[in-house]
């Protein structure tokens, strides 16, 4: 069984796994980090979004062999000051309903705000439209991103 090296939430690890197992299932079933969710397995719902070398990716469609040597951040590792401010905006606006998609939403939003600290509504819409929310929390997500952007700037 091949072995792969990963940095996950700042910790260096190696995992032995079948080369084609998607990162999602390494994270969930092998590393026990269940904050990252399975929603579609096809990269179309965004529930599994993590950061790979700083960029948001759909972990359900990235095989471990293509992730070798990469640095991954999951929702559990989103602990920098600015990232916590994003989570606080989510809490303040009581964003989640069922909550299942929210880790993916926050991961995508956090990456957006790093690259674009002052996103317009259209930019938020375009970026966040890769993440599905079945309960319909979209307008609160949008407000939370704007609130977090404002709080981070101050």
């Amino acid at each position: 069984m091949p072995s792969y090296k990963l940095t996950i939430n700042s910790e260096s690890i190696s995992v032995e796994a079948s080369p084609d197992i998607p990162l999602l299932w390494v994270i969930r079933d092998m590393l026990g980090l269940t904050g990252t969710k399975y929603g579609c397995g096809k990269g179309v719902c965004g529930a599994c979004t993590v950061h790979f070398n700083g960029s948001p990716i759909k972990s359900c469609t990235m095989a471990i062999e293509n992730a070798d040597g990469g640095a991954i951040t999951t929702i559990e590792g989103l602990v920098k000051e600015k990232e916590i401010m994003i989570k606080e905006a989510w809490i303040q606006l009581d964003v989640p309903q069922c909550g299942y998609c929210q880790a993916g939403q926050i991961m995508n939003a956090a990456a957006l705000l790093v690259n674009n600290p002052n996103p317009s509504n259209v930019e938020i819409d375009n970026t966040m439209s890769s993440n599905l929310c079945r309960c319909g929390t979209y307008s609160r997500i949008k407000q939370a991103i704007s609130l977090a952007a404002k709080n981070i700037k101050q």
Partner: protein, 731 residues
């Protein structure tokens, strides 16, 4: 309403609990002997600890409707708790809680008095205790912020100092509820109980359960409804690294139909047991299997709808008022139209899953379910177990929308765990979820109306034909269920009215979908009314108000009366806040619909733009809601917005079709759901009153569909009579 949390039952049941002290008559002597008590359980729902913290039990399954927050808020309000010093614990399934299910927008309706009583009883005990300690009359004491205060002097004592004496108070059966004017917690926007854990990724949903030595499983299901297994090649799946076992799961070998009379316990297929979920999924994909689909109907959508159309002329009358035929002959004008509504899937974000640890004749289950009782019943029958041999945990649920009312993802998990003597987590793929749902039935509606010379509706006929969820998968001659009943709007508002149902048997599994029958029936009813208004060149809201007649209680059936006062109020209000009378630019239009559901009244206006090329933009939605007292305004607003978006989304693109007995759609690429860029601005206005709170999960959804279709007509003159709208407007 029955008070199910009977105190004696509770004492008997919970006296076996260790650690916590159960307070009550029968146990007072034993209480006195216990010196070191740190926890005082006043009921199965309320515990106060000597450190000053109040622990409240959230008894119902949390599927995102906010009930894990709302029910404890009611308890906290009545007892005078400090919300910042309250801990909330999710209950397991237990007979002592009764009515532990999520559906029909019933949770607040059924639990309002129950929660208030449980909270008020504890307040009574604490005030009695404070009266002894403080040597003050009880009528001068109030409880607030985890303390009992003397109203005159302002002196106070914390709850924790009162526990010993409060524990000796016999809780009264009759207890006064707090006046609405004194509410401090109810009516205050309150973030969800689990919000911090959700944003940190630490909430455990059912799919996140992990147990030592746990096996991961999935089932390669026969795509054809009710199909069986002919043969399979075990080695083809075992060639996948991580696949451990391959097992045939033929429903007939495991009890057949124990969960529901009209449904198999699980979908026939071949289970793949593995060391990760992914290995199980891959093994299922690689499995070479031949199915046995002999003797099945092998449904096709087109043919199924043809059967629905044919059934329009062979119906049973569900309600008959006056004589529609006489009205038709007398009428100045008769009008009819046929509407068509598709099948829909639920697609909650968390796919179906269940984890079971079956050992020593004890079945422990972690299951995201709206209906734990059904699962317990099924397990009892399947394995000949008694309730005490089953423990069902209720983890937070990643959405339900009616799908998780059915337990067909639990029985096979239990079978596998029993077989291996290890915990098994069985997970469905998204494809399984969409292809083996309990679909919202599609339907055909023939609407006929008779108008007098003034344009007043004197006759109304609604014929609905479809396969009913009540006889889903039924070929056993059971009486036909109906998808329209004698209470359906506008029953009570028209002197000559006939509601008819044409029932078609089908092999498609059918079930409750958010708002159930109203999710389909509101569309033809409220679009047809809009047609009548436009036909006579009358403003659709004015026409609807005239149709409803004066503010009054409208007798509908038996004791049931429709409160037309409250209904007219939300309609008039939505007309005002949506700027209904302000003209819109060319290509834009507003549509209106209003309904009553789960005791709540909702009026909605949708504003759209239809571009010259047929491109549709939903610009804005205004909603006015009267649900009585609003327990948690934050959760209530979320339910209304979510329900409206779900209605719009279903109207825009929702459609499940069948070919050769199987579902065509398989994932979010061909069963799309609304995305942020398409979401309109939804403005919700709540009517403030002190009437008992009513349901909110379902009622916002149905009116959104006709309001959207009516807005499209106002914008471009295209009458939508068939859903989904997708593609119909394009030039």
């Amino acid at each position: 309403m029955k008070n199910n949390l009977d105190r004696r039952t509770f004492l008997k049941l919970s006296s076996s609990a260790t650690g916590a002290l159960i307070v009550g008559l029968q146990l007072q002597s034993c209480y006195r002997k216990e010196e070191a008590a740190t926890q005082y359980a006043f009921s199965p729902l309320i515990r106060i600890d000597t450190d000053g913290w109040v622990t409240l039990t959230a008894k119902n399954p949390e599927i995102g409707q906010g009930i894990k927050t709302a029910l404890p808020m009611i308890l906290a309000e009545e007892m005078g708790a400090d919300w910042d010093k309250v801990k909330i614990e999710q209950a397991d399934f237990d007979v002592k809680y009764e009515e532990q299910w999520a559906g029909g927008s019933y949770a607040i309706i059924l639990n309002w008095d129950l929660m208030r009583k449980a909270g008020a009883q504890v307040r009574y005990a604490l005030i009695e205790a404070a009266s002894i300690h403080m040597k003050l009359p009880t009528n001068e004491l109030i409880s607030n912020n985890n303390r009992v205060f003397h109203k005159i002097s302002g002196k106070s004592m914390p709850f924790e100092a009162l526990l010993e004496k409060a524990a000796l108070v016999d809780l009264p059966e009759e207890v006064a509820f707090k006046p609405v004017e004194d509410y401090k917690i109810i009516g205050k926007p309150t973030p969800q109980t689990d919000v911090k854990d959700i944003v940190n990724g630490t909430t455990s949903f059912g799919i996140d359960i992990s147990l030592p030595e746990m096996l991961y499983a999935t089932v390669r299901k026969n795509p054809v409804f009710q199909g069986k297994i002919k043969s399979y090649n075990e080695a083809s799946a075992k060639s996948v690294f991580g696949v451990l076992e391959v097992i045939e799961l033929n429903n007939e070998d495991y009890g057949g139909r124990l969960l529901e009379a009209n449904s198999p316990n699980f979908v026939n297929g071949v289970a793949i047991v593995a060391d990760t979920t992914w290995a199980a999924f891959k093994g299922a994909e690689k499995l070479e299997v031949e199915w046995d689909n002999t003797g099945l109907r092998k449904e096709n959508s087109e043919e199924l709808f043809q059967r629905f159309y044919k059934q329009l002329s062979e119906t049973k009358i569900e309600r008959k008022d006056g004589d529609i035929h006489k009205a038709r002959r007398k009428a100045a004008k008769n009008h009819e139209a046929i509407y068509e509504v598709p099948f829909l899937a639920h697609v909650p974000m968390e796919p179906m899953n269940c984890t079971v640890h079956f050992r020593d004749n004890f079945c422990e289950v972690w299951v995201p379910t709206q209906n734990p009782q059904a699962i317990e019943n099924g397990l009892m029958k399947l394995f000949q177990l008694k309730p005490e041999q089953i423990k069902i945990h209720l983890p937070r649920i990643g959405g339900g929308f009616g799908r998780r009312y059915y337990g067909d993802y639990a029985m096979d998990a239990a079978v596998l765990s029993k077989k291996f003597g290890k915990p098994v987590k069985l997970t469905w793929s998204r494809e399984d979820d969409i292809q083996h749902d309990w679909y919202r039935p599609g339907s055909v509606h023939k609407m006929s109306v008779s108008l007098d010379s003034q344009g007043k509706v004197i006759g109304w006929q609604h014929i609905l034909a479809n396969a009913s969820r009540k006889t889903s998968l039924g070929r056993d001659g059971r009486p036909a269920g109906t998808e329209i009943d004698a209470y359906d709007f506008p029953a009570g508002f028209v002197p000559n009215l006939q509601l008819e149902y044409g029932h078609v048997l089908s092999d498609v599994p059918l079930g409750q979908w958010r708002a159930v029958a109203a999710s389909a029936n509101a569309f033809p009813v409220h679009c047809f009314l809009d047609e009548l208004a436009h036909m006579q060149q009358i403003d659709p809201i004015d026409y609807f108000i005239a149709f409803l007649g004066p503010a009054r209680m409208v007798p509908v059936l038996g004791d049931y009366e429709f409160d037309n006062n409250r209904f007219l109020h939300v309609i008039e209000k939505v007309k005002q806040i949506s700027n209904w009378e302000t003209p819109l630019p060319k290509g834009q239009g507003r549509g209106f619909a209003a309904r009553k559901g789960a005791g709540s009244f909702i009026a909605e206006v949708v504003t759209v733009e239809v571009e010259a090329n047929g491109n549709l933009n939903i610009l804005r939605v205004d909603a006015v809601v009267d649900c009585g007292i609003i327990v948690n305004p934050s959760g209530a607003q979320a339910q209304v917005v979510g329900g409206i978006l779900e209605g719009l989304c279903a109207a825009l693109y929702g459609e499940i079709t069948f070919r050769d007995g199987a579902t065509v759609q398989s994932n979010f690429h061909d069963y799309p759901w609304i995305r942020m860029k398409d979401v309109p601005d939804v403005r919700v206005d709540f009517i403030k009153n002190n009437l008992p709170p009513r349901g909110l999960g379902e009622p916002p959804l149905p009116p959104a569909i006709p309001a959207l279709a009516n807005a499209i007509f106002a914008a471009c003159g295209k009458r939508i009579r068939k859903l989904p709208i997708a593609g119909q407007l394009l030039n």
